[in-house]
Symmetry: C2
Subunit: 340 residues, 2 copies
């Protein structure tokens, strides 16, 4: 039963040559309509499946996309950032929709994450997903470009490199949430998230944040910006540091939902009431955001659209088309963490 069926077996049964079988199964216009039907019927009957290895070897196309998920190595080993997990889900769906299989691989930022998928012909192209902290990240992008690997990445555009990116308008998102808090009559704003060293995404959000303050004639207080990476714990600690400074503030803009959630807990543990004493906004709109208490107001990134755009652009790239970087808008999701 499990003795491998080949196209020759089908050919024999159908009384045609192997070539004709191959053509029939690929719906080549070269084969007679009736022959095609007969061959396909026999293939189905014998439960024959085309060997993808042989097929890929011959055509030099794998019908597979590789997803490289790389994470902040400072992060806990066992957990994956839920935002990226959500992206993973939508990318999986998007590739399935296009008839591509998805090869998923996790990478510690430090490793050789350019990872050969296209070189080894296992994938036709690569999607890069992760917060890029720009130490050796950029250098690796350069390497990918030099190897002429087909790839797209999630995130902010990279200055100077011709890399196709799909990302959110982080600046505008940061502006958006901040303005929402301002309209809530808050006066003194803290920002939680790594700005100097961290990811360009966080920086852009911070810049949008500052711009909103300026546009409303509010002061940007640098000492109210605290570094944090995108975890609950880091958010919690950052909020504690913030309190420890003794400077008055009545609003927290977090660079991500995880940070916001950690900060919310810290503030509540410290006896503050959210939103009465402190307004909090996040960024991403992860699943948990709607379940916190109070539910978190945040800037939503549309992961479903993002997944589709990434896949579409990658496939265009693979087929030799010219592709542009694209910025998606964020949506303000108003819940309870800023008051009314």
């Amino acid at each position: 039963m499990r003795s491998k069926q080949t196209s020759f077996d089908i050919a024999y049964r159908a009384g045609v040559s192997q070539s004709t079988v191959s053509r029939a199964l690929r719906n080549s216009p070269l084969v007679n309509e009736e022959t095609r039907r007969r061959v396909q019927a026999i293939a189905k009957e014998l439960n024959y499946k085309v060997d993808k290895n042989a097929s890929s070897l011959r055509t030099q196309q794998s019908g597979t996309i590789a997803l490289l998920l790389f994470e902040d190595p400072t992060n806990d080993d066992s957990l994956i950032n839920p935002f990226f997990l959500s992206m993973l889900g939508s990318i999986t769906r998007a590739s399935a929709k296009k008839g591509y299989d998805l090869l998923v691989s996790f990478q510690q930022m430090s490793n050789d994450w350019h990872a050969d998928f296209e070189d080894t012909r296992k994938a036709d192209g690569i999607i890069l997903l992760g917060y890029g902290d720009y130490t050796d990240y950029e250098e690796k992008l350069v390497q990918l470009i030099k190897q002429q690997t087909h790839f797209v990445r999630w995130g902010a555009d990279v200055k100077g490199l011709s890399v196709v990116s799909v990302g959110c308008d982080n600046f505008h998102g940061g502006y958006q949430v901040t303005e929402h808090v301002i309209n809530n009559n808050r006066k003194s704003f803290a920002f939680l998230g790594g700005v100097s060293s961290g990811s360009p995404e966080f920086l852009a959000r911070y810049n949008g944040h500052c711009q909103a303050l300026k546009d409303h004639n509010l002061k940007v207080e640098p000492s109210l910006q605290i570094d944090a990476i995108s975890t609950n714990e880091s958010g919690y600690q950052a909020a504690q540091q913030l309190i420890a400074k003794g400077i008055k503030f009545d609003a927290i803009c977090a660079a991500s939902d995880l940070i916001a959630i950690g900060a919310m807990r810290a503030m509540q543990d410290a006896g503050y009431n959210v939103p009465d004493d402190i307004a909090i906004v996040g960024f991403d709109d992860i699943a948990t955001a709607s379940s916190t208490s109070p539910a978190l107001t945040t800037a939503k990134q549309d992961t479903v659209l993002a997944g589709e755009l990434l896949v579409d652009k990658l496939l265009q790239l693979v087929s030799g088309e010219e592709v542009q970087t694209q910025l998606m808008p964020t949506t303000l999701v108003v819940r309870k963490s800023c008051g009314s």
Copy 2:
């Protein structure tokens, strides 16, 4: 630059035959130590990578595991159950650790989800992940067995079929959380989760729940069991139905965290205080469970261990070893949703 390098190119540069190159790169003991080093050096210099398609075709091994994630078709299209997402993460890690790539595929329960991965030689084996509702699920398992596909599945053991499963002891988990609530001096228990039609996992949890009640001389009130699938919304609605019945209860055992979180919101919206008026426990320990307010007490399933077990057992199966189904214990995670 991107003109494909083959082992013949390496052979030419090294002044040896292609066979020797192949052997050298696979660390065959047949090649001279120094030859091996020279070949490997040249390969590295030329950035040569073995073509996996050719290699897999020749060896009939793909070095790839396929993960089939299937979901309740009633579920929202864009979201994936966070518990399975977490499993996905740990499975990815576990396969990477074993040197295998992971092919991820989503399936609507209704489709032909046996999905050919092994037949087409893209994967050496398959991991099945999802709540199995046993309508046509079992029939498809039979088909997989008949095709002699190598696969393992997450979940409860399947009676009568020789299928390797890795799952949690749902009965004991249900017992555990229920007992915890009982010890909290609650008297009247509701259970939220599909029992009759739904997954055997939910049923086992319910059975454990009932057993705990019996063992403590408490009454099982069938009308306090409400069907629900594993989403927030379903949990919310189930809790509303529960309230509408007008029967008094002071504890809710939910078949999953998502259900519990939805129910918690419903109770709070209806003016109940959790945990003072109502104790709530969940099942899974998803990330969100620690962020609800009050934080959710639940039975934790160890996804990291689960991922490793699934991968290990699958690989053993592939290599022809005898493999046993395994049940993992759940851990009670006490937080705030039941009081002290």
